[in-house]
Symmetry: C2
């Protein structure tokens, strides 16, 4: 970030990982996470006037996920300035997306504390603008079970049912096979290490099967 800081120690702290020295960035990251969530919420509130609360929430999760923040850190070349301890560097921490994402949040808090709300807000809005424009439709961010339920409800059809066909494996390595049934359709199945994931997999397979047909 090119903004000069009145108090450069704030920026230094925002760039310091706990493996390097104290004070490190974690408290700033807590504050910055709240700022980022607010700025993203406000942009979505303005730019998606027809999105309901659930859609806004899903869109925001996508907008400020770690992967996006790590990309921003790379754009801003923050990685070159992050201060990591020797152990963390050896274990590859330098490249970890989660650390880069944390640092972006901490730097946002540092700007807020140093230059105020408007300065931090303006900076974040510029960083998020292109990403806002390329966000998918809110529906595409819904999980498969929700999409399937809404697809069926929208056509006045009965809701799907899910059943565990079997559980295999020892306690620490369980596998769940789940079947999804929809009236008039061949049931679909999926297997995963949790019942929840297996249900999502079976719902996804059912959506795929349904989308291969003309909507009834």
């Amino acid at each position: 970030m090119t903004t000069p800081f009145s108090d450069p120690s704030l920026l230094t702290r925002a760039l310091t990982h706990r493996s390097h020295s104290a004070p490190h960035y974690e408290r700033l990251e807590f504050l910055g996470d709240s700022l980022l969530n607010l700025f993203a919420a406000e942009m979505l509130f303005e730019l998606r006037p027809h999105a309901d609360e659930g859609d806004l929430s899903r869109l925001r999760s996508r907008l400020v996920r770690d992967q996006t923040l790590a990309e921003i850190a790379t754009e801003l070349q923050l990685g070159d300035h992050v201060r990591l301890g020797a152990g963390e560097i050896k274990s590859g921490g330098f490249l970890r997306a989660s650390i880069l994402a944390d640092v972006v949040e901490a730097v946002i808090a540092a700007i807020y504390l140093d230059a105020g709300f408007d300065a931090a807000r303006q900076r974040v809005r510029v960083l998020l603008a292109d990403r806002m424009a390329s966000l998918p439709e809110a529906d595409a961010l819904k999980d498969a079970k929700t999409q399937l339920q809404e697809w069926l409800q929208g056509r006045g059809q009965a809701l799907p049912t899910y059943a565990v066909l079997n559980e295999t494996g020892a306690d620490h390595a369980k596998q769940f096979a789940v079947q999804c049934e929809v009236a008039g359709q061949t049931p679909t199945t999926a297997t995963a290490s949790s019942r929840r994931q297996a249900e999502q997999g079976a719902a996804k397979a059912m959506l795929k099967q349904l989308s291969g047909r003309r909507p009834s």
Copy 2:
């Protein structure tokens, strides 16, 4: 709230439940939740200079939980002004803490949009000031398993182990009995409808047992 609104329709919307009419408060609630989280984060950042990120996060959850927000709504007599549909009134919605909490968040967003950041921030800081002062110590907000782990670690002792003794009941009404073991202690057990809750119960019983003795 006694602040006059430049745009009174914002306040009306903040007080309108979806059961009454559109536009209702839900989109404002999404924005207000972000504002409230930021204001609470900032106060804790200032007033708890030694709390780490985890403590700050737990303290904030406690500070802005629904129960607190519903109390604030009652203080501000917002309940008298909430606009609910007839069906919701019949089903007792008028008194539901969750609706009152939602309305407080929506009103914070309405103030922000109408009067700006500083006005909303100042208003929330006044509302939260007394509650900040009476927050418990951060440690008291940790779950029982975490408290037990830290108690043992602080004394250089081995970590506790948890084992499911048995699962009973049909799929929709499972009960898990879990045992917590700590070296040199009588094992404790607890039963609950999830493994997670049963572990917390067993950890709580172990903490109680340990606190009945002199720290070793």
